[in-house]
């Protein structure tokens, strides 16, 4: 290693001179270097130029990902120059990124609610989670679900291009109502009280929202409300038939429940002043005063009694002051207030309600559904009419003189302005006139000087020319220090949702102001928008099928006009489901993982500066698991490179040149037509949403997920993954990057094989056999039943007649508890797995890996025997290929060609079953070349039995010169590793693993013994065998027995079944009580018939599983187990690495598997011996009992995470040369536990279906 000293952002660093600036900076956590094209598993590429840094003395900025460090280098990673260049790079990429980050619905929502997210959660039935998501941005969903003007639907929803907008607001109302109806509705977690106080003046939507989001952050908020109750315009401006007051009350009470204080009948300027609030110790003041002043009609005799202001009319009604109304009413105006007044008047008893508006229906600012309902109810509307004069008769209101209008040219707002038609005056007779032509704020009154000492001395509250309070539009600061304002008092009369958004944003700003002394706007995420490139048309949409919107059920007109009952009745569940399904999912699935968006936000990039032509591609959804959207591709080539360099498949390639360069599946077709193995690594490395996983959920979000580290539970490789969850929903599995050599790698099973967790067929409760039938029972009932029966049978049968069968996919803790249950509770050593029993001849538990993946990577020579790495241990295949790229040479011994053999330098394609002969020949030839004596290895010599290498080769159907070539490679490689699959299912010789291990030892090469199942190593280690105690301690090892007895508080003296041959017991039908956890011997066609019959012969069979498997169907009691993401514990990989998985979601059955075992023991009377408060206690006990586990750093990516070999392990077996002549085929054990066969079948079916669809589409119509 060549160490060099350099400086990064002023920090001195010493590092290996062969490394790049990026690697060193990341490892040492100095500087800030973003990158889009670099991946730890790949060679530097340097295409994105986002990672540029300034190196002193260099002519230009340099890409950190490929620039090696050098002595004396001075690097700046975050200077303005560097940031400018990064921003420009991002902006150039974004100028050709025809894509939406979030749906236009969310973009148009003033509060920015994650609409696609909550609709997707609704589609999954996750209603509580959906409400939680809404409340991140809006604390009044039930209110908004009723009164919102829905810019999301009207302007945002792309469904408008197909038929009608999705009923976004109605869905929200359904969810919010459901939550309101709960005994314990969602209450967000609040930060601990921080001792700071904020005064919120005005209890309307802005004030309530501000108080809510401040309370979440730990502030003590006090709302000062001038009216008798909080709610502002929501209460006093919106009539009951649109927003029932109890709904408002409930949502307000939820806000107050967070500790917000409400003081009503306290008016600013009368009871309190800004100065007063500041003096009484508030750290900040928020003014959400609303717009309560009515605009005058500005006509003659306007002050005649009987001429009312719209907003006053509604308020009086809200205050229950409005009397019944009779006679003819005229409402002037075209906004929502006018409609509200008209409809309220109707309900108060008016005989005739006319609404006059000076433009036409098209220009009416009121919501269309409101206008329609008003018309239904009998409000007569007259358009192009303007009032001129109030007519009096004897001082009494007699009517309104009006003028007819016509529409002129569009004005600044785009609306065509009305012009009076000369001499068109006419009279409208009426008894009451309600003027609803606009609202203003009362701020000027407060500042008129009428209120003494209103503001702190020397400070001035600035107003706009519309007499609203002037604020900084991002921070909501007014001109008075520490005073913020939002809502109608700032904007003039606007919508509830805008006020709510303002309140929330002000809360963020106030929080920053109080903590740092400087108000800071709520961060704005970068959003790419298709609309910025061109207008989106119906052709661009995911689904063009017309499916009309579900209409909102309304109260019949006759029922509503005489009452204030709520008109809109709300969606049914069926409506909700249908409506949710109509969502076109415009937003990007990679929203929360996209590095491009993250950096664009961080560097303040914009789409606009370089906007020009953008390439546009069709989205490819033809692969069942992977969706390709080349529009989002930034040409980093990570997918191309990982697929060709690492996987060796080259399913992707760059096509075209220059600006038109694009990444496509090779040969331009679909991924299905390439050699794609669906490992999903391209999805993992894609920094944007160009390659995403097609999530197998009804709607796939995206949601802001939480990542929980886990270990893949398919094969023995032990890939480190993340479970990505939202709330209780497992959304997907993703790559986990850390220091391990296989970091970030996985195969298709690990990445895509989690669908079973959501499976409807999952066992979520137990089953109890009643006669011929299995009856559903609760988990507790089935445990109790199983315990009762076993307890009874214990009186009849001894431990020797009982057995526990465990799956090698269970965790160490589960396996340990299962064997402890057997030994302590059942008093039997008879605990094992069918995986070992079906192939007893081939079972060599003492052969364990002595190599790690690092040994594979570092090897110069690799000998692979009996292993189809690409199919069975994909990640080891990737590592082997990586080693080959680094110069390693690979020899493959086996009967059939595979991807591994294709990459081999020498492929010794021997006769099936003759692999041991080939290996022996190789050893002989190697020994000759390396001048090694044969005599040191008598066991191998015996197996050779005097034959020459050439003779052995010929016997194995090999050409001797090929063997010689292979031996020469081994002889020239200083560092070698031997790899074989312990669970190889081709023709084999019993005990062949021992032979391979001995040959490896003779070659001084460590072995990597591959396992088919994720925790077979752990199963053996923790003592799930009648032959040894945990940690391979002999059952008569007094010291070990002593440790166990003390730890378990139980005597092992009377435990039966030491060294028992459980398979022969089964064959003889001598097992009377059997507990099977996670295995399905009946469902596996390869399980020997007599073993199946042995199990069926048990008097009592208890099966624990995720599904009602064939074995479970035959059981007397069935216990539901927890799925992997629902389980915590550890797994031991084929490397001997002990790795932790954490529970990511709660078990659907309510209990984790380890708890099921403990409860079973508890019910059998072992209330304390198997009682654990947490899984950690079990792990600790294992470490105390098993010396192998002691000192192992669980989950460590390096050597500390392995259990140490040093001579420990089971006693070594001896290879019997006689067996060489009798190869046979071991039975498959894959179907022994349900998961793999289910996944494999589903995967095949999905791919088959996709191919069929493809060929159907290609056929000429």
């Amino acid at each position: 290693m060549d160490l060099v000293k350099l400086e990064i952002d002023g920090q001195k660093v010493i590092a290996d001179g062969r490394r790049t600036i990026l690697e060193v900076a990341r490892e040492r956590e100095v500087g800030t270097i973003p990158t889009l094209c670099h991946d730890g598993q790949l060679e530097p590429f340097s295409s994105c130029f986002v990672c540029v840094v300034k190196v002193r003395g260099a002519r230009t900025l340099l890409p950190a990902c490929s620039t090696r460090i050098a002595a004396g280098m001075v690097v700046e990673t975050n200077s303005p120059e560097v940031r400018r260049a990064r921003k420009a790079s991002l902006e150039l990429m974004l100028s050709n990124h025809y894509a939406d980050c979030i749906g236009p619905c969310q973009l148009h929502c003033p509060a920015g609610i994650d609409i696609q997210g909550y609709i997707a959660l609704s589609a999954l039935g996750k209603y509580a989670d959906a409400v939680r998501l809404i409340k991140d941005r809006n604390p009044l969903p039930a209110v908004c679900g009723r009164v919102c003007t829905r810019p999301c639907e009207v302007r945002g929803c792309r469904r408008n291009l197909v038929d009608e907008a999705v009923g976004i607001d109605y869905i929200k109302r359904y969810l919010a109502d459901l939550e309101l109806g709960k005994k314990e509705p969602f209450r967000p977690a609040t930060a601990p009280a921080n001792g700071k106080r904020v005064a919120v003046v005005g209890g309307g939507p802005a004030g309530l929202s501000c108080a809510y989001y401040l309370a979440l952050r730990g502030y003590a908020c006090e709302i000062f409300e001038s009216m008798p109750e909080a709610g502002g315009m929501l209460r006093y401006g919106i009539p009951e038939y649109r927003l029932p007051k109890d709904v408002l009350d409930l949502e307000i009470s939820q806000i107050l429940d967070l500790g917000v204080k409400l003081r009503t009948n306290v008016a600013l300027g009368e009871d309190v002043t800004v100065l007063g609030l500041r003096e009484s110790g508030f750290d900040a003041v928020f003014l959400g005063l609303g717009a309560w002043d009515s605009t005058k009609l500005r006509v003659q005799d306007e002050d005649t009694p009987g001429v009312l202001a719209g907003i006053d009319f509604l308020r009086d009604y809200g205050l229950q002051r409005a009397a019944r109304l009779a006679g003819r009413i005229v409402v002037v105006g075209g906004g929502n207030t006018a409609i509200d007044c008209a409809r309220t008047a109707l309900r108060l008893g008016a005989s005739d309600v006319r609404l006059l508006y000076r433009r036409t229906r098209n220009e009416m600012p009121a919501n269309d559904p409101e206008i329609v309902e008003a018309e239904h109810e009998g409000v007569q509307m007259e358009f192009l009419v303007a009032p001129v004069r109030v007519l009096k008769h004897d001082g009494q209101l007699a009517g309104l003189e009006c003028l007819r209008m016509e529409l002129g040219e569009p004005d600044a707002s785009g609306r065509r302005s009305p012009r009076p038609i000369r001499a068109s005056e006419f009279m409208v007779e009426c008894d009451v006139i309600i003027a609803a032509v606009g609202q203003g704020t009362r701020a000027p009154d407060l500042l008129s000087g009428r209120v003494p000492a209103f503001l702190p001395p020397g400070e001035d509250l600035s107003l706009t020319r519309w007499q609203t309070i002037q604020v900084n539009d991002r921070t909501f600061e007014t001109s008075v220090d520490g005073v913020f304002a939002g809502g109608d008092v700032v904007t003039g009369a606007a919508t509830a949702i805008e006020a709510i958004a303002a309140g929330r944003k002000a809360a963020h700003s106030i929080d920053a102001f109080i903590r740092t002394g400087k108000a800071k706007p709520e961060p704005v995420e970068f959003n790419s928008r298709k609309d910025a490139f061109r207008t989106v048309t119906a052709d661009d949409l995911r689904d063009g099928a017309r499916r009309p919107r579900r209409s909102m059920p309304v109260l019949p007109v006759e029922e509503r006009v005489r009452s204030f009952a709520e008109v809109e009745q709300g969606y049914s569940l069926a409506d909700l489901r249908q409506e949710a399904a109509r969502c076109l999912e415009c937003g990007c699935l990679a929203l929360y993982e996209c590095d491009l968006r993250r950096y664009a936000t961080e560097y303040g990039a914009d789409i606009k500066p370089f906007l020009g032509e953008a390439t546009q591609h069709r989205i490819d959804r033809r692969h069942p698991l992977i969706e390709l959207d080349p529009n989002k591709c930034i040409l980093c080539g990570a997918c191309v490179r990982i697929c060709s360099e690492l996987v060796g498949v080259a399913a992707y390639g760059f096509v075209n040149r220059g600006f038109n360069t694009v990444v496509r599946p090779s040969m331009g077709g679909t991924l299905l037509e390439t050699d794609c193995v669906s490992c999903g690594l391209c999805v993992s490395v894609c920094p944007t949403g160009a390659i995403v996983e097609r999530i197998p959920l009804a709607k796939s979000g995206p949601w802001p997920t939480t990542s929980t580290p886990t270990i893949c539970h398919y094969c023995g490789v032990g890939c480190r993954l993340h479970c990505d969850t939202y709330g209780d929903t497992l959304v997907k599995m993703s790559r986990r990057e850390d220091a391990h050599v296989a970091s970030g790698l996985h195969c298709r099973r690990g990445r895509f094989g989690y669908g079973y967790v959501h499976d409807r067929a999952r066992l979520v409760d137990g089953r109890i056999r009643a006669g011929r039938e299995l009856q559903p029972a609760s988990v507790e009932e089935s445990i109790a039943f199983a315990a009762l029966r076993i307890k009874e049978l214990k009186r009849t049968y001894s431990g020797a007649e009982m057995a526990v069968f465990v799956s090698p996919r269970l965790t160490n803790e589960e396996l340990y508890l299962a064997q402890k249950f057997a030994r302590v509770v059942l008093k039997t050593h008879q605990v094992t797995t069918f995986s070992r029993m079906v192939n007893t001849n081939w079972d060599c538990p003492e052969v364990v890996s002595t190599a790690t993946y690092t040994d594979v990577l570092d090897a110069q020579g690799l000998l692979v025997v009996n292993a189809d790495l690409a199919n069975d241990h994909f990640v080891v295949d990737l590592l082997a290929k990586k080693a080959i790229r680094n110069g390693a040479r690979l020899i493959h011994v086996g009967p059939t060609s595979s991807r591994t053999s294709q990459f081999a330098e020498v492929f010794l394609q021997c006769e099936d079953g003759a692999q041991p002969l080939a290996v022996l020949a190789l050893w002989l030839e190697w020994a000759r070349l390396a001048k090694q004596p044969l005599g040191d290895h008598p066991e191998l010599e015996r197996a050779v039995a005097g034959r020459t290498a050439a003779e052995l080769a010929v016997q194995a159907d090999l050409r001797p010169e090929d063997v010689a070539d292979a031996a020469a490679i081994l002889a020239r490689s200083l560092v070698k590793t031997v790899i074989f699959n312990k669970d190889h299912r081709g023709m084999r010789v019993p005990g062949d693993e021992r032979l391979f291990a001995r040959v490896a030892a003779a070659l001084s090469a460590p072995i990597l013994a591959l396992r088919e199942k994720s925790n077979m190593q752990g199963l053996l280690d923790v003592g799930a065998s009648p032959d040894w105690l945990p940690g391979y301690a002999a059952i008569d090892d007094a010291a070990a027995v002593d440790v166990c007895e003390k730890e378990w508080c139980a005597s092992l003296a009377d435990v039966a079944g030491h060294g028992a041959d459980i398979s022969s017991l089964l064959r003889r039908k001598q097992i009377k009580v059997a507990l099977v956890l996670g295995e399905d011997p009946l469902g596996n066609p390869d399980t020997p018939r007599d073993l199946v019959e042995g199990i069926l012969a048990a008097d009592f069979l208890v099966v624990g599983d995720l599904f009602l498997t064939d074995t479970a169907r035959a059981a007397h009691a069935v216990l539901p187990l927890s799925a992997h993401p629902e389980t915590s514990g550890t797994l031991t990989s084929q490397e001997r690495r002990i790795q932790r998985l954490e529970r990511a979601i709660p078990p659907r059955n309510g209990l984790e598997t380890w708890q099921v075992i403990c409860q079973l023991a508890d019910q059998m009377g072992f209330r304390f011996k198997m009682k654990y408060a947490s899984i950690a206690e079990v792990t600790e006990e294992i470490q105390r009992v098993i010396p192998l586990h002691r000192g192992v750093e669980v989950d460590s990516p390096d050597a500390a995470g392995l259990w140490a070999l040093d001579g420990r392990g089971a006693p070594a077996g001896v290879f019997d040369p006689g067996s060489l002549s009798s190869p046979a085929r071991p039975a498959s054990t894959l179907a022994l536990d349900h998961l793999e066969s289910v996944f494999a079948r589903r995967f095949d079916e999905d791919v088959e279906r996709a191919r069929a669809a493809l060929s159907a589409a290609e056929k000429p119509a």
Binding site: S46, S89, M93, S95, N96, G653, G658, F659
Partner: protein, 586 residues
């Protein structure tokens, strides 16, 4: 008497094959003893087809010898012995029409071009061919050879101008049991054809140069990466390689010594970027031609991961001469830091377009005005674009700039591979920059963001300027993008893509401003900015009216026509059609 016909691609394009066939038939028919032989290009591409008649020590070159002139040529000169003075372009007897073209040239690289038959190794041997290789192999001192090349001061003629001998030394010193020498014959600059001409006219010189280089660095394999668009060059290289192998100049034992050297041809598929070293290597290896970052340089990790020396055709063609004549002879030519000669491909508005080889240190003025006879049609010299799309323009005011790497770099242009496009006052500099950027933009491999998207955006800006849609601030945006693209691209293509824009902005900023502010193209080239009108010279032939697609031209027969500007779509058809120069573009 020998009758020599120039059959380079330039000659063939002008019909030289027909001339050759006619000459053969005519000579055969007349049962004359004279040989009709082929040769490559002498450089006077503007007068092709060229026929040289050699008789003992005298030589006469005839220019523009089309098939119809063959009869007279044979009758008068070959049979009659009378020189046809009006066709002579060069003559050993004394001054001729084009004597000036060769007079100031100094031909090292082009020494055999246009004089020997490239398909016959005997002719190459007859002029001392492979002597240099024999000398080198016999001396068996690779280090001395490398030092000689360093001493000669030869710099890479591909464009960057790195000292060739140093490149050899790095590759020679790099660890590795197998090394490669690659000849970069992926000549891609629009307007450049020096390499093609050398490969077509004197392929053995390149092979010999490669073998010498291979000997120097310890390589036993060479690749010639040649564009598939050069079929004649490929054909003649293949013939030359076969002949050289047959004669033992290539193969298991070069010149009988224990030195194994083989050369393979690799045809490039026409990607400009494959002229870049690392992309070229990727392409030979069978991958997409995409550059990678350097270091590691090919000298340490090149083809198949092994040390590789990549030299340009012209560089290699210099090598035998240097070995034969000594480094001092070479370094006596040129300037302080730029030694030897440089070949230029002259194109554009110059009177004599073709290949010229001049010693370093002559000025642009000498090349354009003296050797190439100045600007065509008596127009005014405006600028030259040097170095193709990677280069920049040098305005006429700087025509006294001398040809050497440093002087050229100071102007903002680059020496480049030798493409020299001459422009007169009818060339719009904005359009010229747009043309070159359009080329680089299309040819970008698409890897680096700035090169892929940045050049596209620059092109869009230039296009809108030339179309009269330029905006306030466009010049500044161009400058900003140009700097970004230059600084943030991995390879030469991106790093130099901005040069045409930056140099035109530097020297002709006024033209940009005129386009944007006044919506006028001072060179009257940008059609969208032109106003067409018909002058008094119109004789009413009605031709313009008939070609006008938008019906904008009206007028009676034999009357002056008129253009309705509201209908005119600036298609330029009337201008091109009018034979009386009556259509005026303003």
């Amino acid at each position: 008497m020998r009758i020599v016909v120039g059959l380079g691609t330039c000659g063939i394009a002008a019909g030289a094959e027909h001339t050759h066939r006619a000459l053969c038939q005519r000579i055969a028919a007349a049962k004359l003893p004279h040989e009709v032989v082929k040769t490559g290009c002498v450089g006077m591409c503007y007068r092709e087809p060229l026929v040289e008649i050699r008789d003992g020590a005298t030589s006469v070159h005839y220019g523009g010898v089309s098939v119809d002139k063959v009869e007279r040529l044979v009758a008068e000169h070959v049979i009659g012995g009378r020189v046809i003075d009006e066709w002579v372009v060069l003559s050993s007897a004394g001054p001729a029409a084009e004597s000036g073209f060769l007079a100031r040239q100094n031909r090292i690289v082009l020494r055999n071009c246009g004089s020997i038959d490239p398909e016959r190794i005997e002719e190459y041997l007859a002029v001392g061919g492979y002597e240099a290789l024999r000398t080198v192999v016999a001396a068996n001192d690779a280090e001395a050879l490398v030092i000689a090349i360093i001493d000669s001061g030869l710099r890479g003629r591909g464009g960057a101008g790195f000292l060739t001998g140093m490149k050899w030394r790095f590759t020679r010193m790099a660890a590795g049991d197998r090394k490669y020498i690659v000849c970069n014959a992926d000549e891609g600059d629009p307007g450049a054809f020096m390499d093609r001409s050398v490969l077509e006219s004197d392929p053995h010189a390149v092979l010999e140069g490669m073998a010498i280089a291979g000997f120097a660095i310890g390589a036993s394999d060479g690749y010639i990466y040649v564009r598939a668009e050069y079929p004649k060059a490929i054909e003649r290289l293949a013939i030359a390689i076969a002949q050289a192998e047959e004669r033992g100049f290539l193969g298991e034992s070069v010149c009988g010594a224990p030195f194994r050297f083989r050369i393979r041809l690799k045809e490039g598929a026409g990607a400009f970027v494959c002229g870049e070293e690392t992309a070229l290597i990727a392409s030979i290896e069978g991958r997409r031609g995409m550059p990678r970052i350097r270091p590691p340089f090919p000298a340490t990790r090149g083809l198949w991961g092994r040390p590789t020396c990549i030299n340009n055709v012209e560089t290699l063609a210099n090598i035998p001469w240097i070995v034969n004549n000594g480094p001092a002879a070479f370094s006596s030519l040129g300037t302080l830091n730029s030694k030897g000669t440089k070949v230029f491909a002259m194109a554009g508005k110059v009177r004599r377009g073709g290949l010229v080889e001049v010693p370093m240190g002559v000025s642009i003025r000498e090349i354009v005005q003296d050797i190439c006879g100045g600007i065509k049609d008596g127009r005014r010299f405006k600028a030259v674009q040097m170095g193709g799309p990677s280069g920049g323009c040098i305005p006429a005011e700087l025509q006294d700039t001398v040809i050497d790497y440093e002087s050229i770099n100071r102007t903002g242009a680059i020496m480049g591979s030798g493409g020299l496009v001459v422009m007169d006052e009818t060339t719009c500099m904005v359009d010229m920059a747009r043309f070159f950027l359009d080329f680089t933009q299309r040819e970008s491999c698409g890897k680096c963001t700035f090169c892929r998207v940045g050049t596209k955006r620059m092109l869009e800006i230039l296009t809108r300027i030339t179309e009269g849609q330029g905006r306030e601030g466009d010049i500044e945006l161009l400058e900003q993008l140009a700097a970004l693209v230059k600084n943030s691209s991995l390879c030469g293509l991106g790093q130099t893509a901005s040069n045409p824009v930056q140099t035109t902005l530097k020297y002709f900023r006024g033209e940009y401003e005129a386009h944007i502010t006044n919506r006028r193209c001072p060179a009257h080239q940008c059609r969208k900015l032109l106003t067409y009108s018909i002058a008094e010279a119109c004789n009413g032939c009605t031709a313009c009216g008939r070609v006008c697609p938008s019906g904008a031209i009206s007028g009676e027969k034999k009357q002056v026509h008129e253009i309705d500007h509201s209908k005119c779509i600036q298609c330029d058809e009337c201008y091109k059609t009018c034979r009386f120069d009556a259509v005026v573009r303003v």
